[in-house]
Amino acid sequence: MKIAIASGKGGTGKTTLATSLSSHLSETQDVVLVDLDVEEPNSRLFIRGDQTHSQSICKQVPEWTGDCSLCGQCQEICNFNAVIKVGTQIMLFPELCHSCRACSELCPESALPLKPRKIGMLNQIQAGNLIFVESRLEIGEQQAVPLISQTKDYIDNHFDESYIIIYDSPPGTSCPVIEASKDADFVILVTEPTPFGLYDLKLAVEVMRKMKKDFGVVVNRDGLGNNDVLDYCDMETIPVLARISNDRRIAELYAAGELIFSTIPEFKEQLLLLERSLELSTVVDPV
């Protein structure tokens, strides 16, 4: 089972939920938490354990041999302006390259061979029974998608279906979020009951519907703002899986890098509610 924790708006509580949900589930089951917010991964701040694996992640980008007739086909074929012909040279902008290989394959003189370029690091950490994997994008790299995609490949190659896999996704509704959630069996959209939260939730719902994803909403900082998010979910028949109170103690624990569920019973209650609705609990708790 793969669950992606996403949101339209940033800072709604994806990491708070992802770290607590995966740590709690790992007490009874095999769980892998994967931080796919590769541009600013911060799940690790809450996970204490030993690093068991680390590797570089590369993408393939063209390199000009410096020897061609400057026909310019490479520039014409590139949709991302990653290769342009200036004067008597071909200039490449690898951070714009989407590794589609078109320029390299179509070059009549084979003057653009592909070379690996490091775009980030993948780390694996063992924290009790919880396995945590994160990837970090290199500073200056502009594209998160190739790193997210290769991190998911790593997960698929190392963990079979007996694991519950939880993706802590990037915020927003653009390519990185789509890449992070496209093969999830279920997507949890975390939002807050404010006009900003609702506005971005609507965008995220639109994306999830377009991707034909099974999804539900977790309202964080419940009690803040107004009732519009709940009314919207009601009207759109979107299940509200849990409601986490707007509680200063949660913010304090988060700021201290602590998991929330072990200290705040009301939070744990909502976590159990969420696990039950996702049919993840192994033990049936008295309601």
Binding site: F80, N81, A82, I84, V86, M91, L96
Partner: protein, 111 residues
């Protein structure tokens, strides 16, 4: 001497477009012919990324000696620019084209 300007319009009274990569127009003034010509750069709005190098490529093709602009080139645009001999003058972002040319000639704006 041939001058290039990043511009929001097509005349001497147009304002400098402070952006280089996403400038609306490129104006070329040839002082030997006393001629001002305008080239639209409007198709750049369709590019999500890589606007700087493309616009600079266009400017290089117009073969000016000096480029007068506002904010100046970003990293990629500067890299393309460095393949040419064109001198870049920045800081004209809040001027009209004619004022920018005067400011350059009187050394009020420099590289």
């Amino acid at each position: 001497m041939k001058y290039a300007f990043t511009a929001k319009g097509e005349s001497w009274d147009s304002e400098i477009d402070p952006r280089l990569g996403r400038t609306e127009f490129i104006l070329i003034y040839d002082d030997k012919k006393n001629e001002l010509s305008a080239y639209s750069n409007s198709e750049i709005t369709q590019q999500a990324h890589g606007a700087g190098p493309l616009t600079v490529q266009k400017i290089i093709d117009l073969n000016p000696d000096i480029l007068i602009t506002g904010n100046g080139p970003g990293k990629n645009a500067a890299e393309v620019m460095s393949t040419s001999e064109i001198k870049i003058i920045t800081g004209a972002g809040d001027m009209k084209i004619k004022e920018a040319l005067e400011a350059y000639k009187s050394d009020k704006i420099t590289g």
